[in-house]
Amino acid sequence: MVARAPIIPFRPNPKKRKKLVSDAVLGMVLFVFVEIMLFAGFISGFLIIKARAVGSVWPPPNQPRLPFEETAVNTTALIASGIVLLIAHRMFLKGRGLGGSPAGGRGGQATPRGSSGGVLAGFGGLLSRPVGRILVAATLLGGMFVALQGVEWLALIREGLTITSSTYGALFYTIIGAHAAHAVAAILALVWALLRLARGKLTRDVLSAVAIFWYFVVLVWPFLYFVVYL
């Protein structure tokens, strides 16, 4: 069939539209919303089961109490880690603390290569840069939180609080365990970001996405701490 049709112009180069929020950051923010709803589900479950406890006695009488005071140390480590990461994140976004040379242009561009060579040599370069040092500190503080949580769990299990000992124990291990799993995943993501930084391949978008996930893990913790432990 032959028809008269208009000439359609085209875009010679696939021009990308200006993005309000980068792909990686937007994707991570959406994911964090799902996670918030996941923990909202857990917390509402906790509150409902707590509300219908026998004789309104909570925690159940024959179960050990959660160490609210000792856990303040863990909480401090976690929040400190979040603040330290925030500092590193802001420095990286502004292109400071990379050993003198500023990061590349707007979003998505790789930072300059610190040192050529293997991963180990890369780690040397990592610690020589302020951003690298601060990021390592944030990761270690996060690791400290997880380790202290593990120690606390071992003590509680020795005292007789297990996942089947009562709904109290079940809720504690499920909710706090879910948070711990998220913390471990976030630490692994931070380590991955560090490896990329060491190889000079870390982009602003990737660090932002990883950092947003870690902020979520940090910020959801106070809610869990005050609802579950108190």
Binding site: F39, T164, T174
Partner: protein, 588 residues
């Protein structure tokens, strides 16, 4: 206007942007192309529809002719009957409606309709299908383990679902929960992709209100899904712990609360209805505007309406629990919100009718499906009013009235909506035109039996026939007479409807073998997917010819134009030239 410098004919123009992905069968394992992933979702979903349809056939035979040796299955035991109805519901919603409407058409249409070359996260998209595929294997495997498939109804209310002494299968119920959980993870990954792609990858010139409604609907549905699925995942984790570790989250004897599961489930479950409804509603918009040659009535109102529906859908969930022991004052509140949510949906139906009014309607096969969707869904919606009102629901709860009501919503969504979309975009997806005559025969042989299955079930439900009974012979009030006749009528109609689906498969096979080739734009529609080849190449458009958008997608029958349609990528006042529609060759 500048003459395009690149060669418009097919062939070598694409070579520099040819399929970089794996070839052959590996393509279907590792491709990141959104069109391939869409096909994977679609065919997996269609296969699962056959599985779910077979289950319906087996238990409908048992209901109409109790104790019969069902051909192809054998005699149905009570435990098997429960497993069949449970998995029929689960599969039809989570493995048919969701993958086909949301994942398949979302994947296929979003990049094409917004002028992008692919999703923003192609590898996450691939992972999404792979997780979904594993979940399919898990749910199918759960049917064959010791003790048979899970038999605690698709809503999986504890304590029935939490204790294997009640649901009669240990591994089956755990596999069921794991399968559903994996499936949610798959759609989560897909949903993140859909939303980010619409936000960030639209063609230059495409503003928020130039996006085709179906894309808006799929994205709003993804947002609803992502905001509602968290609590259910939390509940699923607790349910798995109850099943495997022996915790007592939902066991009142151990201090748990079985109603807690119902809240967590329906907080997801009701928005889920709109998650699958909205894509189908969007498909209907595209079809009725194209075949009525009318501009969509009230474009912006449609968008505000679906957002309102989405918000309201989070506040209606307890209408599933009116007789579960919730506070009657709470039932009043949820009655009001439930009746309120019918307002935006009715608004959408009126908008569709207003769009059709005065149009030059062409009753093609996709148009028939789209019109049938509106008519049938209306019946589903109106009967929902009775169930949303707590007073009437106390009588109707757990009768066949409920069953007929939600089949009148889900069947239009999952089956009619899918056939509408499939027949409408078939020329684009496969480059061939389907046989219209066979398509219409298939349409009528599906729609008439569908009504003859479920209208009798409404009557049975009003007569007081309870839903969860394996053999009515043991209930003298329900066993004989007109009740039995209506059960048999429903079953015979189902057999006709299932048989009619072979016409559809024959049509697909015949079209694939000898159907006429489809041109770029066989329906003379406006949106961007019709400006590329049928089927579109890898990357959707030649990388030097990505589209630019000048207007909204519903400019049909515009006055003072030679054509009655005005594609989105055509600038105002572009000079005319001679173009061969089929090959795209140009001359002056």
């Amino acid at each position: 206007m500048v003459e395009p410098a690149v060669d418009l004919t097919h062939g070598e123009a694409h070579d520099d942007h040819a399929d970089h992905g794996p070839q052959g069968w590996l393509k279907y394992l590792w491709s990141t192309d959104h069109k391939v992933i869409a096909m994977q979702y679609m065919f997996t979903g269609m296969f699962m529809a056959l599985v779910g349809g077979f289950m319906a056939y087996v238990f409908r035979m048992q209901l109409a002719f109790p104790g019969i040796n069902v051909p192809g299955f054998g005699a149905v035991s009570p435990g098997e009957y429960n497993a069949l109805v449970t998995n029929h519901g689960t599969i039809m919603i989570f493995w048919v409606a969701m993958p086909v409407l949301l994942a398949a058409f979302g994947n296929y249409l979003i990049p094409l309709m917004i002028g992008a070359d692919d999703m923003v996260f192609p590898k996450i998209n691939r992972l999404s299908f792979q997780v979904f595929f594993v979940s399919t294997i898990v749910i199918l495997a759960s049917l064959f383990v010791e003790g048979g498939g899970f038999a605690g109804a698709w809503t999986a209310y504890p304590p029935l679902s939490a204790d294997s002494t009640y649901n009669l299968t240990d591994l089956g119920s755990t596999l069921w929960v794991i399968g559903v959980g994996l499936e949610f993870v798959a759609f989560l990954l897909g949903g993140i992709n859909f939303i980010t792609t619409l936000m960030n990858s639209r063609a230059p010139g495409m503003r928020a209100f130039d996006v085709p409604i179906v894309v808006w609907m799929i994205v709003v549905a993804s947002i609803l899904f992502m905001l509602s699925v968290g609590p259910l995942l939390a509940g699923a984790i607790m349910l798995i712990f109850d099943q495997t570790l022996g915790t007592g989250f939902f066991d009142p004897g151990m201090g748990g609360d079985p109603i807690l599961w119902q809240h967590l489930f329906w907080f997801f479950g009701h928005p889920e209805v709109y998650v699958v409804l909205l894509p189908a509603m969007g498909v209907v918009v595209e079809i009725i505007t194209t075949f009525a040659r009318k501009k969509l009535f009230a474009y912006r109102t449609v968008i505000f309406t679906i957002v309102a529906t989405g918000v309201l859908s989070f506040f209606v969930w307890a209408h599933h629990q009116f007789i579960a022991g919730i506070d009657p004052r709470m039932a009043n509140i949820f009655t009001i919100t439930t009746l309120l949510i019918s307002v935006p949906i009715a608004e959408l139906c009126f908008i569709y009718i207003a769009t059709l009014y005065g149009g030059s309607i062409r009753l093609t096969t996709p148009m028939l499906w789209a019109l049938a969707f509106v008519a049938e869904f209306l019946i589903g919606g109106v009967t929902g009013i009775f169930l949303g009102a707590a007073g009437a629901d106390i009588y109707f709860h757990d009768t066949y009235f409920v069953l007929a009501h939600f089949h009148y919503t889900f069947f239009p969504i999952a089956i009619i909506g899918t056939f509408a979309a499939f027949t409408y975009w078939f020329p684009k997806m496969f480059g061939k035109m389907m046989d219209e005559r066979l398509g219409k025969i298939h349409f009528w042989l599906t729609i008439i039996p569908f009504n003859m299955i479920f209208i009798p079930l409404f009557v049975l439900g009003m007569g007081g026939q309870h839903r969860r009974i394996y053999n009515y012979d043991q209930f003298p009030d329900l066993a004989g007479g007109v009740f039995q006749d209506m059960r048999e009528l429903a079953t015979w109609s189902l057999l006709i409807m299932l048989a009619a689906q072979f016409i559809f498969f024959y049509n697909c096979w015949k079209t694939a073998r000898s159907g006429p080739r489809a041109s770029k734009n066989p329906w003379k529609a406006n949106s961007l997917e019709w400006t590329t080849e049928s089927p579109p190449p890898h990357g959707n458009w030649h990388h030097l010819r990505m589209p630019v958008v000048y207007r909204g997608p519903y400019e049909y029958s515009v006055p003072d134009r030679e054509d009655d349609y005005w594609p989105q990528n055509e600038p105002d006042g572009a000079p005319l030239q001679v173009v061969d529609d089929d090959t795209g060759e140009q001359g002056r």
